[in-house]
Symmetry: D2
Subunit: 111 residues, 4 copies
């Protein structure tokens, strides 16, 4: 059974990642070279959506919490991989938030 601490840690990382992705989405659309950011924009939206769903699942004690967080980890890892390539501050921050969220999701599931 999951401890409250593990739920809480995972929830916090999901919310931080959702924020980093939404901030990065907005900032990418305002960059001078939007062409270079297309993959990032797409993944930011994907990742924000699944983080929001994962947060809802944890908060409402969903019977599918683990499956949703497992998919969240996978999407976070893809978003981190893309954001890591770009030197913009918002991309680097987003990559780190995605990496942490993926780790917290995998840690929660493994217990």
């Amino acid at each position: 059974m999951l401890s409250n601490e593990q739920h809480q840690k995972c929830l916090e990382e999901c919310l931080a990642c959702m924020e980093a992705c939404n901030t990065c989405f907005d900032a990418c659309l305002n960059e001078e070279d939007v062409n270079m950011m297309a993959a990032c924009i797409r993944l930011d939206r994907e990742c924000s959506d699944i983080c929001a769903l994962a947060a809802r699942a944890i908060q409402s004690n969903s019977p599918f919490m683990e499956q949703i967080c497992s998919l969240c980890a996978e999407i976070c890892e893809a978003c981190a991989e893309e954001c890591r390539k770009h030197t913009h501050d918002h991309c680097q921050k987003c990559a780190e938030a995605c990496r942490r969220c993926a780790a917290a999701c995998r840690e929660m599931i493994s217990h």
Copy 2:
């Protein structure tokens, strides 16, 4: 590679299932004995949310379309199993929509 027909079929079933789940959610909350419908209400919301995400993924050509539809199939099956137990017309219709959506998701993924 997925054909347009398979995408289209899966999308239609996701949208039909989302509608059946939302209709069932509303109707369950108006039943005389809401206590009996608690599991159904919970699963209707879960299932509506994942169907909406799956529809969005198909429509926007998400790189995670298959993973999202795989999770959608799993949640649809759980919702179908619960709704099937109740004789209300809205539950029987929802169970059938969930069963069809799960099948369409699994069919799309297998190709």
Copy 3:
């Protein structure tokens, strides 16, 4: 009181608009000149999200159906105005879907 026909018409336009916006979002990110599409990409996401919420509200008989559809109309109109400027087929289709959805939302609310 709203007739079933007005609900149904508005719901259909919300779902058609969500699809057009998600298709346009994906296609804009694949255009050669993504810079030119930045405002369109942003509005496609906004409009898809509010159309999804409006569809959910109609399907689940939300007490806030009219307020949500009123906001949906406003966002659809902004998205139509932006999409209309671009000659891409996906933008023209999206502008038309947005225009129809805004009209259906306003028609439903006025009754």
Copy 4:
């Protein structure tokens, strides 16, 4: 123009309200007398959805941030009014989170 502090305050209250609503939704479905909680369950879902959309709007600098937060305030007030009637701890906490979120939304819009 909105200051960063006002954005931040409103965002925090939206996220706190989303959590309180999702917790209350889950807890209401586990109460002995679910019939009494039907309106609360419905409003918890509505309010969680609009708070999630408002948080996304603030984080991504949406051109419709104010309109979304205005609707959020209205739905929060309705949810607070319903939750306030119930003595359960989760309902009282939810009523207070909704009240605070509505106030923060209205404060942000007025500036």
